[in-house]
Structures are given as C-alpha cells and as structure tokens.
Amino acid sequence: MNKKLILLLALFVSALAVMGVEVFGSLPESRDLPTIEAITIPESEYDRLTEDGNYLKVVDDIVTEQTPRMEFAFSIDPMPSRHNLTVRTTHDGVSADIDDINMMVYVYFDLSALGEVVTIQIRDRESGRRVELVLWFDGADEVDVPGF
C-alpha cells in the first residue's frame, strides 16, 4: 500500500460520500410547483417554421469542421415549474446536452455527421410537452427532414 493509492481511495470515498449523502441524506424536491404548459424556441434561435409547425435553422455557417458544435436557447412556461427535460437527436453522430438552469441546448457533431440534416427534440417527461428544431445544411444531400 502506498500514498498514491490512499489518495485515490480518499477521492473514491469523497465521491461515495457525495452520492451517499445525496441518496440517503437530502430532502426531496418540492412537489408544489405546476407542470410545464409550453416549451418554445425564441425567434432569434430559428430561421423559419416548417409546414408541420417545427422550427428550422440553417447552420452551414455555424457548424463547421473547425467548430462542429452549436447551441440554442429555449424557454418554458410557466416559470418556475416542475419539470424533467431531456433532449434527443435523430442522428447517431450528433449528440446533445440540455441545461435546464440556463435554458440552453448544446449540440455536438461528429466530423462524420457534418452536413447531415438533423432534428433536435426537447421533451419534458413530467408533462409530455415537446418541441423540435431542425438543423439544416443548405448543401445537404438529403431532402427529407428526419423526424422521431
């Protein structure tokens, strides 16, 4: 046994401590808040609406080989509300993260997925409400907008 191992053990115990206290020692979230009634994407974050009522954004100049990522804002109504937001994409090479504190979605493209049209869906598990944003490349081979 050596000092490095003990340091690693201390790190492990610390992580365990935080998890243990979270699971067994923290108060539950308040259930008094109302659920979400609408999820919307502000006008500044999309270019036009599709026939299906989905939002569409052209990203040729935003998502490039040098910066294969983008982010967009969204809002929920009412605020504050009880929610459990998740985000999904329609392409394996595109991942997304949702920040429900700052109301932002971060989208990451694999280099192999650059140029592919992809739909990002934000969904609230508590209320079942959802919204979709299509990220469109003008030079894309595909014509059909992929959906869920």
Binding site: L5, I6, G20, V21, E22, F24, G25, L27, D100, D110
Partner: protein
Amino acid sequence: MVERIKVLMILQLSNKMALKIDNKQRLAANIALRLLVIALISIAMVVVLNVLNNILGIIVNAYFVVFILMVTQLFAIISATVGLMTDLYENRENTLLHSYPVKNDEVFLSKMLVYYLHEIVKNSFLIVPLLIGFGWTNQLSVYYYLNIVPMIFIIPAIAVLVAALLSVPLAMFRHFLSDKNILTLIVALLVIGLMFWLVMRVVGNIPTPIRITQLYSQFTRSINRFMQNAASYGLVYTAIGLLLYGIGIVRNYAIVLGSLIILLAAVVFVSRPLYFKLASRSMEHTVEKVHKSKKGTSKNLFVTFLVKEWRIARRSINQLLNDYTILIALPFFMYMLNYIFTNMRLNSTGNQLVLVFNIIIALLLVTASNTASASSITTEGTEFVIMKTAPSETRTMAWAKIAFNLLFSTGIILISFLLFQIALPSFSTTHRWLIFLLVITLNAGHILWSFQIDLLNPKLSDYAATGSLSGNPNIAKSIAGGFALSLVFGAVAAVVFLTIENSVAWAVLFILAVPFVLLRLYLFNSYLKAYFIDIEF
C-alpha cells in the same frame, strides 16, 4: 560510436530489467503474456468507453481522443521530466558511465534512448489499448488501426523530447534551491496558497443550493464543451487525433513529423551541450557552513535529540515537505467536500453522514502521512550504529523523534482545520473541533504504531546502500495500518452517529480512541525497552 551507445544502453537496461535470455520458450511465453495483458486492457477500455458514451453522457469522438491524449501526455511529460531530472543529472550510475572511454554525448544519447524504450513499454499498456478501444467503440476502419502503429513510437518520442528540454531549467532551479531552505519553504507555501485559492474560486462557481442530479448533467455538459474547446489548443496532439480519425492525413503527418524534428533539434542544440555541465555538478559543497564554536552542553538528552531533529528538518525542507505531502491535501479535500455538503438541502441522516465521511477522509489522509515515523530509524542509515556507541541512554532519541513528528503533523492538521474554519464558517464549529481532537488523538496512536513497525525491523543497511526509501515494507505496513484504523473508526462512527445522540456518539468515539493511544504507548514503550538495544546494522 553505435557500438559504444549499445553497450551503454545494455549497462543501464541491465540495472532495470533481466536482459539475459536463457530460455526462448520462456521469452515467447513472456511476450505472449504481455500481448494478452494489452488485449485485456483493450477490452476493458472498450467497456469503459461504452459506459462513458452510453451511460455517463460523455461524448466519445475524435475530440475525446485528442483530449485524452493531451491529459495522458501531460502526465507522461511531467513524469518523464521528473524521471529524466534524476536519470540524466543525479543518477549514481553517472559516475561510473562517465569513467568509461566514451564521449559525454554518447552517455546522453544512451540515457535518452533507454528512457524512450521505457516510455514505449509504458505507453503500450495505456495509450495503445485506449486507441484500440476507441476505434472499436466508434467502429472505425482498418486505416485507423494502421495509423496506431507509428503512434506507438511517435507519442512517447514527443513526451521524452519535451521532458528532456524541460528538465534542463528545472534541474538548474532545483540546484539553485538546494542550499536555500527558507526560499524553498516560501515557494512551497506560495504554491499551496495559490492552489487553495484556485480551488476556492472553482468550487465557488458551483450553483447553490446544490442538486447533484442537475450538477451531474452540468458537469458532463461542461466536460463535453471543455474537451471540444481544448482540442483547439492540443497542438501536435490535435494533429495526431485528427490523422487517426482520417482527417487531413498528409497535412497532419507533416505537422507531427515537423514537430518531432524541431523538438529533436532543440534537444541536440540546448539539452545536449548542457548535459555534462549539469550532470557533473555536485551538491556536496553547495552549503556553505559557517561553524561557530560554542561552549555549553545540554543536560537534557531528550532536548538534545529534539533539537537535532529540528536541525535536520530545517536543513532538508524538501524531505520534510515530501514526507507530509498527503497531509497538505487534507484542507483541499475537507473544503471541497464540506462546501458541497453545506450547500445541499440535508435531512437529519444527511447531517450524520457528513460527520462520518469527514472522520473517514481526515483519518485516511492523516494516517497515510506518518511515513516519516515508519522510517525514523531506517533513515539514520550508517549513522545509527555510531550514535548507539554514545555513552548515554540513546533510546531517548526515539521519544524525541516521536515528539517531533507528533508536533509537526499536529501543527499541519491544526493549520488545515483553521483554513477550513476561515474558508467555510457555516460548518458547525463544535463538530469541526471535535473531529480535529479525534483525528489528532488517533494520529498520536498511529505515530507510535508506525515507529514500532520500524523499530522491530529497521532497514538500515538497505537505506545506507541505496539512499532511497522506495519499496520500504515498513512504510507500506504503516499506511496499511492507518487505512485499517480509518475503516474501523469510520464504521464505528457510522454506527454511533446513525443510532444514538451526537453527544453520546462523540463520547463513544473518544472512549475508544483514548485507550487505543494508551495501548499503543504502552506497547511502544515495552518494545523500545526490549528491542532498541538489539538493533544492528
């Protein structure tokens, strides 16, 4: 020249590994075993990368590879720099190698090549499985795997060349500090203070109240963004990541090979000419001793030995800091953990768990720091037998050593808790100082225990021959004992804090801790009286 370098390399390698091959079957089995280990690590990497990608939400793509390469190679460069500072300039074999009919450049080159081989072997067990695992996870083409082959040689070469360059100014800086103990102490304190301030700034950015589930998603999001942004600053490692992924292969190979040539040229024109000058510097005469004759004798033997310990510590601040490095981590751990705990919405069980985990972590770190006690007699080396010939009660030196270690470690623990108090005043003051009292009580018992381990089996001749404590079994035993002590008291704390009132729980812990210290004191005293006289070189 090539033949001389080959001989020099064999001489150095034979010190590190068994080179004589008696049995070809055994050699083949050895190679097969190593390949099997690499294959097993690769499978483990596939599992880990899949868990990261599919369960933990960390995106495993080309930028992930660049980021992991950057991080692992940063550690590889730090480790190689420290290793080369010793291997190139301070290794005891230098005296022997330079006495051979060879040129200084040949010694330098042979040392660099030996280190490079060592890095290739090391990398084959980490970077290669990682790259294979990454390729499998992302179902990359056969060209990806073909590109891994040159990387087996290129990645360690970059690390060793950068380390060779960095080791020159660092060796000079170390040499500069070698006779300036006060300056070393000031530099160390400034670095620790700066690190603590940085930790406070980083931890202070966590949004409160802390909700771990949200914090986790924010954490993964930050990691993903950070990895993508970091790839822009990855220099040669970005080029390696992209070429592995099949992007701009010619351009990125040109960048990698160009970087290698520039590094090689820098080593040839900067490190090589300075090598002999630095390697032949002796530290022996760096301390200018001003001897002032002083009349007077101490009547108290204990005080004499205690003053001696203080003088040794003052003259070797580096060693002292090295002995207590892990204890310096204590305020960092306590601050970070308790910042999170105090900003969580805790129920009564949560408050009790906070106390239990604080006790376990503080004990783990404190008891792992008593290595100085577990090597107190060993580090006397050849001087121990001379000291024993003195016509007095020389076993008093053991008590002086214990008193010094006890005072020093208690001082650092006190500073840690004071820092903790200043940085996080919202934590209960009563509990904070009760944890402090419990920790220093058990630490006293563990110091006695550690010293007893060394007393019963000191490695005087080993230390005298090598000057190193590496692989010392007494230190390992002391750390293992401390670990066991932390677990036992952690378990007792968990039971008592979760079942009975706090005041009674504290009483139970102290009722167990105080007899433990008294028992260790009694045992140590008995063993000291019985065995000190028998210690031989």
